[in-house]
């Protein structure tokens, strides 16, 4: 499904990714762990097409996408700090990718309602995103990424900064949601317990690189 081979990224002569290779099968949930500054986020940004790799290749479903622009890759990314569009309300945030695809408004409304129900926040559809709580914002960020039906979903420490109770509840809900939809997922975290609870496989970023 997602196959990255020998990725190399260097920032101002500091190596960030050194010959990193990773493979994720269809429908698999893989957790990627590693200390801060080890290049986890950079790897996600390279896969999403937001960073350019110095060398190496990225294949998705057999097609090479290394040089493909981010908006054509169909790879979803949920940011650590959500990055919901502040000028749009909850429903408009979720509908963003659907409108870009040119889907008719009626169908957009249906899909938004469906995904809101999935994350249990139907009652918040018209709320301004700056008024959401931390947990609500996380759910909306995941819903926004899922509604675009990405081939792969990348989660960049999506549950960091939440209180333990909310963390446990959201982790469980997120796991159920991804499995029920069969979403191929790369979940970055530095929390081993979180990785064990959600993933089929756990990888350490340092072990993926050939120094």
């Amino acid at each position: 499904m997602l196959d990255c081979r020998n990725l190399v990224v260097t920032y101002e002569s500091t190596p960030v990714l050194q010959n990193l290779s990773i493979y994720i099968g269809a429908g698999e949930i893989v957790a990627l762990t590693g200390p801060s500054g080890s290049g986890k986020t950079t790897l996600l940004r390279c896969i999403a097409g937001l960073e350019v790799v110095d060398s190496g290749t990225i294949h998705l479903s057999g097609e090479e996408i290394t040089a493909k622009p981010a908006h054509l890759r169909r790879i979803g990314l949920v940011f650590q700090d959500n990055q919901l569009f502040p000028h749009l309300n909850v429903a408009e945030n979720i509908a963003y990718s659907l409108k870009i695809q040119g889907i008719k408004q009626k169908l957009v409304d249906e899909k938004v309602a469906e995904v809101l129900e999935l994350v249990g926040l139907t009652h918040l559809s018209q709320r301004e995103v700056i008024k959401l709580s931390g947990g609500e914002a996380k759910r909306i960020a995941v819903a926004r990424a899922l509604v675009a039906q990405p081939k792969v979903l990348l989660l960049d420490e999506p549950l960091s900064g939440l209180d333990p109770e909310l963390h446990t509840r959201l982790l469980q809900d997120l796991g159920n949601l991804l499995r029920s939809r069969g979403t191929t997922t790369l979940h970055v975290t530095h929390d081993q317990d979180e990785a064990k609870a959600i993933a089929d496989r756990i990888l350490d970023i340092n072990e993926l690189m050939q120094h």
Binding site: A48, H71, F79, Q83, F85, Y96, I100, I130
Partner: protein, 520 residues
């Protein structure tokens, strides 16, 4: 309210209130009462007035639209890219806004072909030049506050670069665009110096018409009526500006990351280089033409005009007068501005009215202020029309609102914990203010002083009304020299304009030096 300073704040409000009541509120009320008595409102329906109002409005609308459109590319490169000369470019494009309007006028008089002198086009070009830097600064500052990950999120959701700009970046810039647009419209709507120089007799805005009626036709009642009409329009515009200026800070609170990055590919480098080059040439061309004209008499190059401006007693007197008034303006406007800002932030909410009071000179406009001052202080025992002090006071009134807005944010953003720490370490109230507040707001104070200096050196609107034979300032001298025939005399006007350009470039240097992070 800051508890430690709450007792001091009641004394700080005294001086600003006295100055504003005496020199702004009283003249404005006087204009209103006189206008009501003379019953000249029929003037508003005459074809001449209708033409003036229509021209004032449409030239301001076109200038605003064009300047917003032209400012976007340079705002984009300064907000997004780190490139060689970026800071210098930002300083350079800010120069026109701080230039005296008279200098902008004479620069385009020299640069533009004679066929479009005294035309609406010339005025619009000069307005675009004058306001361009202001718009770039407003939009670029807001653009830098947009978290780059928001745009990344849009890209991963399928947005192309164009779509991303239209659906994310532009909506997030909308408030700053509206705010900048209203400010520019206001500047062009109340434009005076540029129109006096470039418009000639055929092209009048409300401001120049007020001057023309009061000072050349002797029709004070007509001038009063026009002043009131403009005051109402400007008042509404300022209210709108304040409304649109208040951005929901929550939209921009995520500014941990800097979005400024090095250009990634040849296309970006080419785009940046082209925009920077075009902007630099556009800013420098009028300035160079002024310098060139100051050393060109007929076909020959000589420094005769420069020799005269330092030896002719009349011109030299205007130079010293300008400098004297600038020093006065710096001292008084920064003091009153500092007092007002401190009183509003340190004191209870009841001092908030000072915000409105100190904004009044902007609402009133410099020309109306000048008119108000001469019709108010014209009877004994306060017949101060001939007093030298009136002109620098008018300069201070124009500068105070700007000074206030430079100082206030720094005082407001100062964490109260620093003051608490200082007190617990044994500082008295005065020592705490001196070692914490004053120390941190010092760069803002110096910036405010530099801007106050520029305001005074370039002030032309109010000064046109308050000028006497012995107190002409440099902009007034330029205007007078330009109205006289003779190449050498005209060259002297350009030499004085060059001096003012040099002063303004130095002032922008000071402002940008103290505006850097290390001085905050």
């Amino acid at each position: 309210m800051i508890n430690a300073y709450r007792h001091t704040s009641k004394w700080l409000v005294v001086a600003p209130i006295v100055v504003m009541l005496l020199f702004v509120v009283a003249p404005v009320l006087n204009i209103f009462s006189m206008a009501i008595q003379i019953d000249s409102f029929a003037l508003l329906t005459t074809p001449t007035t209708r033409n003036v109002v229509w021209f004032t409005t449409w030239q301001a609308i076109i200038s605003t639209i064009v300047v917003l459109f032209l400012a976007m590319p340079i705002a984009a490169i300064t907000a997004n890219f780190d490139f060689f000369g970026r800071r210098m470019l930002i300083s350079l494009i800010s120069v026109p806004f701080i230039l005296p309007t008279v200098v902008v006028g004479v620069a385009f008089l020299e640069l533009l072909p004679t066929s479009i002198h005294r035309s609406a086009l010339a005025i619009i070009i000069a307005h675009i030049y004058f306001n361009f830097g202001l718009v770039v600064r407003i939009i670029s500052t807001r653009w830098q506050q947009i978290h780059p990950h928001l745009e990344d999120a849009a890209r991963t959701l399928g947005a192309s670069r164009t779509r991303l700009f239209l659906t994310v970046t532009l909506p997030l810039l909308k408030k700053s665009l509206r705010s900048a647009g209203l400010l520019v419209f206001l500047m062009c709507f109340t434009s005076y110096g540029v129109v006096r120089i470039l418009g000639g007799p055929a092209r009048s805005t409300i401001e120049t018409e007020i001057y023309f009626r009061a000072m050349q036709l002797g029709d004070v009642s007509g001038a009063l009526v026009l002043s009131i009409s403009q005051l109402v329009v400007v008042g509404v515009l300022i209210l709108l500006t304040t409304q649109f200026g208040t951005t929901n800070s929550a939209e921009f609170r995520q500014t941990i990351y800097s979005r400024i990055r090095r250009p990634q590919n040849f296309g970006q480098k080419l785009f940046i280089a082209s925009i920077a080059l075009i902007s630099t040439v556009a800013v420098l061309a009028p300035l160079v033409s002024v310098v060139r004209r100051s050393i060109l008499v007929g076909e020959r190059t000589n420094f005769f005009a420069w020799h005269i401006i330092f030896t002719d007693p009349e011109i030299f007197k205007s130079l010293t007068t300008s400098l004297k008034y600038a020093v006065f303006t710096i001292a008084v406007s920064t003091t009153i501005g500092l007092f007002s800002a401190c009183a509003i932030i340190y004191g209870s909410t009841r001092y908030r009215f000072l915000n409105i009071l100190t904004t009044l000179p902007v609402v009133v406009s410099a020309v109306t202020l000048g008119l108000g001052l001469i019709i108010t202080f014209d009877v004994n025992p306060i017949d101060w029309r001939g007093a030298w002090l009136m002109m620098p006071i008018a300069h201070c009134l124009v500068a105070i609102p700007i000074v206030m807005r430079i100082i206030s944010p720094t005082i407001r953003d100062l964490p109260n914990g620093l003051r608490d720490a200082s007190q617990t370490l044994g500082a008295t109230t005065w020592k705490m203010w001196r070692t914490i507040d004053l120390r941190i707001i010092q760069p803002a104070l110096l910036t405010a002083a530099a801007v106050a200096c520029a305001v005074s050196l370039g002030e032309f609107g109010a000064s046109s009304f308050l000028v006497r034979r012995n107190n002409e300032t440099l902009p007034l001298m330029i205007s007078r020299l330009l109205s006289r025939p003779g190449e050498t005399i005209q060259a002297q006007a350009y030499a004085i304009a060059t001096l003012l350009i040099v002063a303004c470039v130095a002032i922008i240097g000071v402002v940008d030096y103290f505006g850097t992070e290390k001085h905050r």
